[in-house]
């Protein structure tokens, strides 16, 4: 039930395969798919950062440097499974198949959740910390009650593990033996607060044993290891093996968001150290070394990522016309009398503003 002392790894920083207790190296086609989605994810991330600078997004929390964790976890899910992401997991949501413009609706400011959660089985991105964890537990328990084998994977950050809802969710999941994978990306910082000020536990994965949940510590910059660990947890949970807590050790290369200044709380040297452990370069080295990826394939992939970014840029550079009537439309299943009046007042106000003076 206790995690290993050091993170489970399948690929070292130079992309060499290393033997890892209990983790199976994913098949070649999976490794190639992981690489492809990580390239697309990184380009999506840099495009979103650029859109922030252009004023097209109100804010963007980057996950640069965490691509192995984000993509590895999502590709390990089956169509029947559910993803419960946070605000930092936009690239994971895109990887799951949600239209990137719909994903960015929240950060663009048009509406809160731009996509239909049922289409790709992706819950709305959660901004309060850890509140999505009990949702995942409830959804997964309901699936079991209905006789379905769906698993819910909830994404959490290191900071979120200090919240009460993480505790409640882990405990409920364990007592109910609910098919849930708690996937904690430990990226070192909760905005500015480093992990040392967040917990005194030997690792976040160690917290599992207190609930009777197996804890797994995995190298979060190793896409192969993340995929293998999550896949194993999903398979086990779907078969009735109960919840699993996975800590993926990674690093937030960018600041918390574009509005944050990371130089106030961490050294450039620390960032540089992690840049040298880039998850994308690691997988690329491995694939190239094994002849699974050549230069033309990389060029083709870069072109695909560029085209995707250009399409996103173009679609995000149009001005949207949010409908003010939507404000009062969705609060209840059926509009209340009071909201009907308020919607009418707003309509009058807007009509009056349109009239020539």
């Amino acid at each position: 039930m206790l995690p290993t002392e050091t993170p489970l790894t399948l690929l070292d920083a130079d992309g060499r395969a290393v033997p890892s207790a209990g983790l199976d190296m994913p098949a070649d086609d999976v490794l190639v798919a992981l690489h492809r989605h990580m390239v697309l994810a990184r380009r999506f991330d840099t495009q979103a950062m650029a859109l922030t600078k252009q004023g097209r997004l109100a804010v963007y929390p980057s996950a640069r440097g965490q691509e192995a964790s984000e993509i590895g976890a999502v590709l390990a899910l089956r169509r029947a499974d559910w993803l419960f992401p946070t605000y930092r997991d936009s690239m994971a949501v895109v990887c799951r198949g949600v239209d990137p413009v719909e994903v960015l609706t929240l950060l663009r400011g048009d509406w809160h959740c731009g996509y239909d959660p049922y289409v790709h089985r992706v819950a709305p991105q959660c901004t309060p910390l850890a509140t999505n964890a009990p949702h995942a537990v409830g959804l997964a328990h309901a699936a079991r009650l209905k006789g379905e084998d769906s698993v819910a994977l909830v994404m959490l950050g290191d900071g979120a593990t200090s919240e009460g809802d993480t505790h409640a969710a882990l405990n409920f999941a364990a007592v109910w033996q609910a098919p849930v994978v708690f996937f904690v990306q430990n990226n070192g910082y909760a905005i500015s607060v480093p992990l040392a000020k967040q917990t005194a536990a030997p690792s976040l994965a160690h917290k599992g044993i207190g609930y009777g949940i197996p804890g797994v510590l995995v190298d979060g910059n190793d896409a192969a290891a993340v995929y293998a660990a999550v896949r194993r947890a999903v398979t086990s949970a779907a078969a009735g093996g109960g919840p699993v807590l996975i800590e993926a050790l990674t690093y937030r290369v960018e600041a918390h968001t574009n509005a944050d200044d990371a130089t106030r709380y961490r050294d450039t040297a620390e960032v540089d150290g992690w840049l040298a452990r880039d998850p994308l370069a690691r997988l690329r080295l491995h694939l190239a070394g094994r002849g699974l990826l050549d230069e033309s394939a990389v060029a083709g992939l870069d072109a695909e990522a560029e085209a995707q970014a250009a399409a996103l840029r173009e679609r995000m550079n149009t001005d949207t016309a949010a409908d003010p009537a939507d404000l009062c439309r969705y609060v209840y299943a059926e509009q209340t009398q009071s909201l009907h009046w308020q919607q009418r007042e707003l309509a009058w106000e807007l009509a009056a503003a349109e009239e020539p003076r």
Binding site: W111, C113, P117, Y118, A133, P134, H135, V137, G138, A333
Partner: protein, 346 residues
């Protein structure tokens, strides 16, 4: 639940005497029987049948997969209910006491209330949160809060409170069928009140107030635990020759403007009664709406008879805090009757 045992068959047509607790129990049982997606869970609701016995016998009848005890965490209960509702179930959860629901506040206000809106109606959360609330039972600290204003202030929640056994049954059935999340506040001092009632899911809608007693001179607006006090005050006022109309709000959110304003326009006077503190209390909203919508019909300011602006007092002092008949009669007496008479005479 002797009343349940006495009444026996499900579709009862002749009124039978039933307590509010038994009526609630019956509503849960009937909902569980008629809809496989209904679940009941919370602290001590399974084997024990709830600390107020509202869920008595349900786990035995419907099994532990549908009626069950959870670990002790209100945020966990509310949060998992949200996930279950996302996956097609209709959870009816219990917060054991009003003040013990506060750990679930973030789940209720940030998620339960907002999900339908933030997903443009794509995700509905038909969750009912049953909360025994209010005082008058000699409960110690943290067991007697009237927390309705917190919930009523939150857009996206419906807030309902029955005052009679018949309404307890009907409103709970309607709340369980409602696609919106419903905060279902049960006035715990009325749990053992009895009424000869026909328990049926129909009647006035989930968002309607009802006139409990017709009158001409003044409208008393009450709900939950204070309705019985208001009716008692109306009886006493009648002895003094004042004809008092009593409106039972039932739904605190949405507010039934139509029924309440129609009554106040008839009587020209209004007093709102509730246990909760006055400042930013529910009565403030009622008074504001009445002055906005009935100003020209009013003969006097809308008055509030409420608890004091204090934390709920200890058992030996609660009688001084709770609005009683005398306090209501005093409020009615101060509604500028002389001024109206003088105007009429002039």
């Amino acid at each position: 639940m002797t009343a349940v045992a006495e009444t026996g068959a499900r579709s009862q047509v002749t009124p039978a005497t039933v307590t509010m607790a038994a009526a609630l129990n019956r509503a849960l049982a009937d909902a569980l029987r008629e809809d496989d997606s209904v679940l009941v869970f919370g602290e001590d609701v399974g084997t024990l049948g709830g600390v107020f016995r509202v869920t008595d016998g349900l786990a035995a009848e419907f099994g532990e997969a549908r009626v069950f005890d959870t670990p002790l965490s209100e945020a966990g209960i509310a949060g998992t209910a949200i996930g279950m509702a996302m996956n097609g179930l209709r959870p009816v959860i219990e917060m054991q006491f009003d003040a013990f629901a506060y750990p679930a506040f973030e789940q209720i206000t940030s998620h339960l209330a907002k999900m339908h809106n933030r997903t443009r109606g794509r995700v509905a959360l038909p969750v009912v949160i049953r909360i025994p609330y209010g005082g008058g039972i000699g409960g110690v600290e943290h067991h007697c809060d009237s927390s309705e204003a917190y919930y009523a202030h939150t857009a996206g929640l419906r807030v309902v409170t029955p005052a009679t056994p018949g309404d307890a049954y009907a409103l709970l059935r309607q709340a369980i069928e409602c696609p919106d999340p419903v905060i279902f506040l049960e006035p715990k001092r009325r749990y053992w009140s009895k009424e000869a009632a026909v328990l049926e899911p129909g009647g006035p809608g989930l968002d309607r107030a009802v006139v409990r007693r017709a009158g001409r001179d003044v409208t008393l607006i009450a709900y939950g635990g204070t309705l019985a006090t208001a009716l008692e005050a109306a009886d006493a006022a009648a002895e003094d020759g004042r004809s008092v109309e009593v409106v039972d709000l039932r739904s605190l959110s949405p507010f039934d403007d139509e029924t309440v304003t129609a009554s106040v326009r008839r009587t020209g006077r209004a007093v709102v009664v509730h246990e909760a503190s006055r400042f930013c209390g529910y009565g403030a909203e009622v008074a504001a709406r009445l002055s906005e919508q009935c100003f020209h019909y009013l003969e006097a300011p809308v008055l509030r008879v409420t608890g004091f602006d204090i934390p709920y007092p200890p058992p030996h002092l609660e009688e001084f805090h709770l609005p009683g008949v005398d306090r209501i009669l005093d409020a009615i007496d101060s509604l500028q009757w002389q001024e109206t008479a003088a105007k009429a005479g002039a």
